[in-house]
């Protein structure tokens, strides 16, 4: 039977990795940061890479933005091979890293943006118009003449995002873009990125984050990554739907010293996470079980620890629960719950 050539064959993925592996040497032993990672991202998609610190998210972004060579496998961005056609890849991408402030403190915000626009060869007048528009859209045009060193973290990150959009990239890489930002600024930037992708129609964004809500709110599809391996990849809704058969219960107890490690050994417990709050001297314990009957066993174990149970709530599945169901644990304390 002859091979039927479909339109799909002619349209490259915006981003595609085929068994990408990256091993770092130099320490006591080699570290496999990425292990056979294969993902395909369509044009116009906002794709999230969700995982804890050290999962391999930034390593993958660095390979895709030509800053790092893979040890094995192939990666394509905009249809170009990231190793052999790095220069072509750079023409269609931009990278925005959270917690970073590229630029020069002595220059004003608009001067910094103009400087970076020149790295992409934008005509000066067109660059100035684009800078004005981006600053107005991201609501920091009042700081046009302010030195970058005088800006707050939130405004620096607006500047960083504006810089990333200056060259009108086809594919935008966002590495923890809302890291360390306050809730309102984080929300503002997330909204802007989603609007950008819609406005550009084929504007693709690859976002790494360890904020569950961020991935849930922004992404069309999410890949959950842990220890360099992709564990699941689907839309946030579908990932969560897969957990509908399970029961997720959140318990708040009265001590920051509470120990839930007993849950690891219990039959019927799929996984759990915990978040401690030193301010309120409480611990939140989220457990995923196969059926409600298992939870009553968990509860009786908790009671034996002389802990005061403050609240028990049945919870709807979140992406964190998807992660828990896949690896049996949550992100490290404080991280998973620290939603911007």
């Amino acid at each position: 039977m002859p091979h039927v050539v479909s339109a799909r064959d002619f349209v490259p993925y915006a981003v595609e990795t085929q068994s990408v592996t990256r091993v770092f040497k130099g320490g006591d032993r080699p570290v496999k940061a990425l292990d056979q990672v294969s993902v395909s991202i369509e044009e116009g998609e906002i794709f999230g890479l969700l995982g804890p610190n050290g999962a391999g998210k930034t390593t993958l972004i660095k390979i895709l933005t030509t800053l790092l060579l893979p040890t094995g496998g192939d990666a394509y961005v905009g249809g170009f091979n990231v190793v052999k056609e790095a220069h072509k890849v750079r023409q269609v991408i931009s990278l925005v890293s959270g917690g970073e402030t590229p630029g020069y403190g002595i220059l004003s915000t608009s001067e910094n943006l103009w400087f970076f626009s020149q790295l992409y060869g934008l005509p000066s007048s067109a660059a100035k118009a684009e800078i004005k528009r981006l600053m107005a859209d991201l609501e920091f045009d009042e700081y046009e003449k302010t030195r970058m060193s005088k800006l707050s973290t939130g405004y620096k990150q607006r500047l960083n995002l504006a810089r990333g959009l200056l060259n009108n990239p086809k594919i935008l890489f966002l590495d923890e873009p809302t890291l360390g930002l306050d809730v309102l600024t984080g929300k503002k930037l997330r909204g802007y990125i989603v609007d950008w992708a819609k406005r550009e129609k084929k504007g693709t964004a690859l976002l790494t984050t360890h904020y569950m809500a961020e991935a849930d709110e922004m992404c069309d599809r999410v890949a959950i990554i842990d220890r360099g391996r992709i564990l699941a990849c689907d839309s946030p809704l579908k990932l969560k739907q897969k957990l509908q058969e399970n029961v997720i219960i959140k318990v708040e107890v009265s001590s920051v010293q509470a120990d839930f490690s007993f849950a690891q050994e219990m039959k019927g417990v799929i996984g759990y996470s915990q978040t401690r709050s030193i301010q309120t001297d409480t611990t939140s314990f989220k457990v995923m079980v196969t059926e409600e009957k298992v939870f009553s066993d968990v509860l009786s174990k908790l009671e034996k620890q002389d802990l005061k149970i403050l609240a028990v709530n049945k919870a709807e599945p979140t992406l964190e629960d998807v992660y828990i169901s896949l690896v049996g644990r949550g992100f490290e304390a404080g991280e998973g719950a620290n939603h911007a």
Partner: protein, 238 residues
């Protein structure tokens, strides 16, 4: 600017005490002026990519579709313009304080040698920049180690072509573009010589540029690739 002028004064008084030829004061001033550029090359130009990495700008540069040599060239021009003001001030103050007579009969030759020296020095700086990019701390120590010997060998404050300078030092000094630049500028600006007397300097400086620029480009490409391979290209505090 005060410290270089104090250093110049020390050498000039010393030469006066030992009754050195009067043109030696001019040699010292030219040496002090060019030293400003050499210091800029060694500590600013060479370390430029290293500092850009530390503040997070290198990542942005490397993701942009721009030639790395173009970035370095821009940094070299910026460094030169910044230093030129300081160097000019050292030169003018030195000339005025010590009343050094200048004898420039061929200003175009003087300018040619000056700009060839600058070109060769910054080409050397561009080559160092790639080393600093990956081996920041180690390269920093090496530059520190080289600062005084190069200052001595290149004859910043005395002419290496002098009879009293050992042949070995003269031989070593011929490997440094600053030596040919200083010697050429001194000849055309202080001793009143012309292009016929400094053609060897011109050829040597041009050769340094022609050789160093491709080496700088290759070194940058090699270091960038090595950094991507080892994962140290944008890794900080190393």
């Amino acid at each position: 600017m005060v410290i270089p002028v104090i250093t110049l004064s020390a050498y000039i008084f010393l030469y006066k005490m030992v009754k050195a030829p009067p043109e030696y004061a001019g040699f010292v001033i030219i040496g002090g002026t060019m030293m400003a550029f050499w210091m800029n090359v060694l500590w600013n130009m060479s370390a430029q990519f290293y500092w850009e990495k530390e503040v997070g700008n290198l990542e942005v540069y490397l993701v942009a579709p721009i030639s790395r040599m173009a970035i370095l060239l821009g940094m070299a021009i910026g460094g030169f313009v910044n230093t030129a003001l300081r160097a000019l001030a050292i030169f003018v103050v030195g000339i005025l304080i010590f009343q050094v007579p200048m004898a420039i009969y061929e200003p175009l030759t003087a300018l040619l040698i000056f700009f060839l020296t600058i070109g060769a020095l910054y080409a050397l700086g561009m080559m160092f920049a790639s080393l600093f990019m990956l081996y920041g701390r180690e390269a920093w120590h090496t530059a520190n180690l080289l600062q005084e010997p190069i200052q001595f060998i290149s004859g910043t404050y005395f002419p290496t072509t002098s009879q009293v300078v050992p042949h070995m030092v003269q031989l070593l000094s011929s490997l440094i573009p600053l030596t040919f630049g200083l010697d050429g500028i001194r000849k055309v600006a202080i001793l009143g010589q012309g292009v016929g007397d400094v053609w060897l300097n011109i050829v040597a400086l041009a050769a340094f540029i022609v050789i160093l620029l491709p080496i700088a480009r290759a070194a940058l490409g090699f270091m960038e690739n090595l950094g991507k391979k080892e994962g140290r290209l944008t890794l900080r505090w190393q």
